[in-house]
Amino acid sequence: MSEDSMSSTVISLENIAVNRFGYGARGDELTHAKAAPKKWLSAQLQVINFTDEQPTSADVFVAHAKFQKQKKLMKQQKKQTLSSQDKEKSKMMKGAARKTYIKMSAASLKQAITSEHSVSWRLLDFFSNHFSVSTAGRLMVGLSPTLEREAIAPNLLGNFADMLLAVEQHPAMLIYLNNEKSFGPNSRMAKKRKVGLNENLAREIMELHTLGVDGGYSQSDVIELAKGITGWSVKRPKKEHGSGFVFRAYAHEPGSRELLGKKYAQHGIKQGQQMLRDLAMHPNTATYICNKIAHHFVSENPPQSLITKMQNTWLNNQGNLKKVMLTLFDAEESWIAQPQKFKTPREFVISTYRAIAPKNINSRALFNSLNNLGQMPFNAGSPAGFSDDESDWLGASALMARVEWSSLVSGQKKSINAKRIMATALGNSISQNTYQMVMRAESRQQASTLLLMSPEFQRR
């Protein structure tokens, strides 16, 4: 048995390349990666183009404005009797935002499932979770899925500062963390009306998006950054022309600011932008995010030497994310031959479908799968995003749900071939025990369930 357990913990290099850094092997990826795993990995970093023609954040605002208009109309007509047609229309509009959100979430998942560059999708999902937004309220239901498409994907292989600025100026983030109505205490607006500062976004920018909670900032830094980004707001489609980000000078706190000991004398929007650019290149930001990337891709306890390599790349290359990722791929520390991580539900579901490659996947069912496994898209419910730790995903109840889901998926495909899926997904990196259990299973469904639930498939 000791021999068996030895073999169960060693993974081939091509398996590491495809399964640790990507969303799991699909088709003959393992064969392709085998010749030169590192080269295969580097070629995986490709710009992500969303080809699915889903609504943009601007579309979401237009639809939302229409919905509110209809709602108002309904309210006015409440005393009169409503025609059933009107009722139906209102009901449809009410559900429309949620439908769109489910469609968009599923569309992203499907692209990750069929992509030939799944490593880039892992990276996109990493940053989408890093800049986590949740669907609280009707407007956020529609807006949440647009952030990764409009602010993160276009900057995925560029400099972190550009991604940071795009995210913090995107309506989804501004509304989610309440900056759109944050007013400088001495702004022109505050002199006329009783309005004031909201420090939520500023705090999370430093705690979660850049420096990290131990990144060396104080409460007064939070307030200074909050003041620096006052006026960063979102257009109201009913009252203003167009939609999206707007800088409101009358809401901005006048005067210069001091953040982390540095003075910012800029006026208007430039002040906050410079603050964010400096935060993006702060050494603590480099440490925090490189550590988080290594934690995500490689191990919950990444070696310090790996972090140092990545951090140096970050600081010497304007926080260029592609170069940081290449450093990660190049480091020997990333290629530990034992599995280091337990897949999150998202990783588990995507890698399953990549291995099985069904002809059609029902969007609704795909979305529900993630929901029921505990990782509903854009629903971390906290700006910290979903956890990336085994202890938060490997629980008794969570494991049971995975067993049930695996059984369900295995039963859905007629004449599912576990042996073929095993070869596609894991190649030779499989223990004798698992191999025998799968081959000896009493039915096709059971064989596939066991394979999907095997330690080799659950871990990477």
Binding site: D4, T9, L408
Partner: protein
């Protein structure tokens, strides 16, 4: 350094007496028979899911055991909007909008405090002397990050330790058992020293159950992966206990009120657990606080009422501890909400609680009385009160308390009926 110990070839060290756990060498056929039998027993609602911890003890009756239910409100509850200091003239000045936003009368407590109108059930309990609100408490964490604040509160050690929680250390000292209504073990119930059969997790599943054969096969499949095997074993123990409730196989949505119902059911099973943990998020009210808190507090109030109803007579032996990571700014912000603060409130509820009064010294709301001139000043430590509960409800000695809350001493106030 890489923690190579955490790989899957770790030898099994389960020192368990459960037939489901120690059968490393059990034949598949035999296991299937056994698992099948266990599952059949488990699907009977009053069956024992936790026979393990009761084995070897003289009493099999859980009905007289003192229970603790730990409820964590994630997101930082604004205590000033929940237990309103109506006597404090600063209150309306700091919160001109919020203080006038209550749409029904506040529910009076002693000393001029009053409960938010949504907490109707809790107020009844207060009148029955089974609710004890404690004002101006803090865990000692003062840096205003939700996530660190919650981890700090759950650790209970005066520092963040993701692998050691206060409730886990408590059940370790007294060899008790616990259940978390969660998909995986929350920090409060993590400890390397607690035996795996002492802590269980349960969360409603929406999938159809898999064929029972599969569980036997999985047990064999996981023979070299201790973590997977442990969780499988644990899951099989709870399986079936909650699934078939009175309403048939109705799909549960994971709402707090449903979770609270299921929690009560699991606790009151014949050899149920000694303590349980529930979580409720959504308290981070940076904007539109008045409406949002009305909704959230109603959800909390209704959920706790269901918990009480489900516990039946057990309520008399129960202490529910309701806490949050920190409080919010004394002053309202520019968007009808409040930002991250420091001191908040702690609630003790249950038939075992010596309630009907408000504990905790009021620090005042004048600028100089506030923490850093912005937050409610803590005047006592949450862990001190929780230690008192352990001491009076679970008979912890001072020495035993040190293993749970090494940084604090318990308060001498009488919190529990003797």
């Amino acid at each position: 350094m890489i923690d190579n110990k955490k790989t899957i070839n770790e030898p099994l060290t389960l020192s368990s007496v459960s037939p489901l756990v120690d059968e490393d060498t059990l034949s598949r056929r035999k296991f299937m028979k056994m698992a099948g039998a266990s599952l059949a027993v488990l699907s009977f609602p009053m069956a024992s899911a936790f026979a393990v911890q009761a084995k070897g003890k003289s009493t099999f009756n859980s009905k007289t055991k003192p229970k603790i239910i730990w409820v964590v409100l994630r997101g930082a509850l604004d205590s000033l909007h929940t237990i309103v200091p109506t006597f404090d003239t600063q209150y309306a000045k700091l919160r001109p909008k919020l203080s006038t936003s209550f749409n029904s009368p506040l529910l009076p407590l002693e000393k001029g405090f009053a409960l938010h109108p949504s907490l109707r059930n809790l107020h009844h309990w207060y009148q029955d002397k089974s609710l004890l609100p404690i004002v101006a408490v803090s865990s000692g964490y003062a840096k205003r990050s939700h996530f660190d604040g919650q981890d700090f509160l759950e650790s209970g050690k005066g520092e963040i330790d993701h692998d050691s929680g206060w409730l886990a250390r408590a059940i370790e000292v007294k060899s008790k058992s616990a259940l978390a209504i969660a998909r995986s073990t929350p920090i409060s119930l993590r400890s390397s020293l607690v035996r795996s059969e002492q802590v269980n997790t349960w969360y409603p599943s929406k999938f159809k159950s898999a064929d029972e054969d599969i569980y036997a096969a999985l047990n064999e499949l996981y023979k070299n992966d201790a973590a997977l095997k442990e969780n499988l074993t644990s899951a099989l123990k709870v399986k079936g206990l909650v699934a078939e409730n009175a309403e048939g196989n109705k799909i549960q949505k994971g709402k707090f009120v449903d979770l609270a119902k299921s929690c009560a059911k699991l606790i009151t099973a014949e050899q149920g657990v000694d303590c349980a943990m529930l979580e409720l998020g959504g308290w981070d009210t940076h904007n539109n606080q008045s409406n949002r808190l009305s909704r959230k507090l109603t959800e909390l109030d209704t959920g706790l009422a269901e918990l009480k109803a489900g516990l039946g007579d057990e309520w008399q032996n129960t202490v529910v501890i309701i806490g949050t990571e920190f409080g919010r700014t004394a002053k309202e912000n520019g968007t009808g909400g409040t930002d991250h603060g420091t001191a908040s409130a702690l609630f003790l509820a249950g038939g075992a609680v010596n309630g009907g009064k408000v504990k905790g010294r009021w620090p005042g709301l004048k600028p100089d009385e506030l923490f850093q001139q912005r937050d409610l000043m803590p005047t006592s430590n949450s862990f001190g009160w929780m230690a008192s509960v352990l001491s009076q409800h679970w008979q912890f000695s001072e020495q035993e308390l040190q293993q749970v809350f090494p940084q604090v001493k318990s308060y001498s106030d009488s919190l529990i009926h003797s």
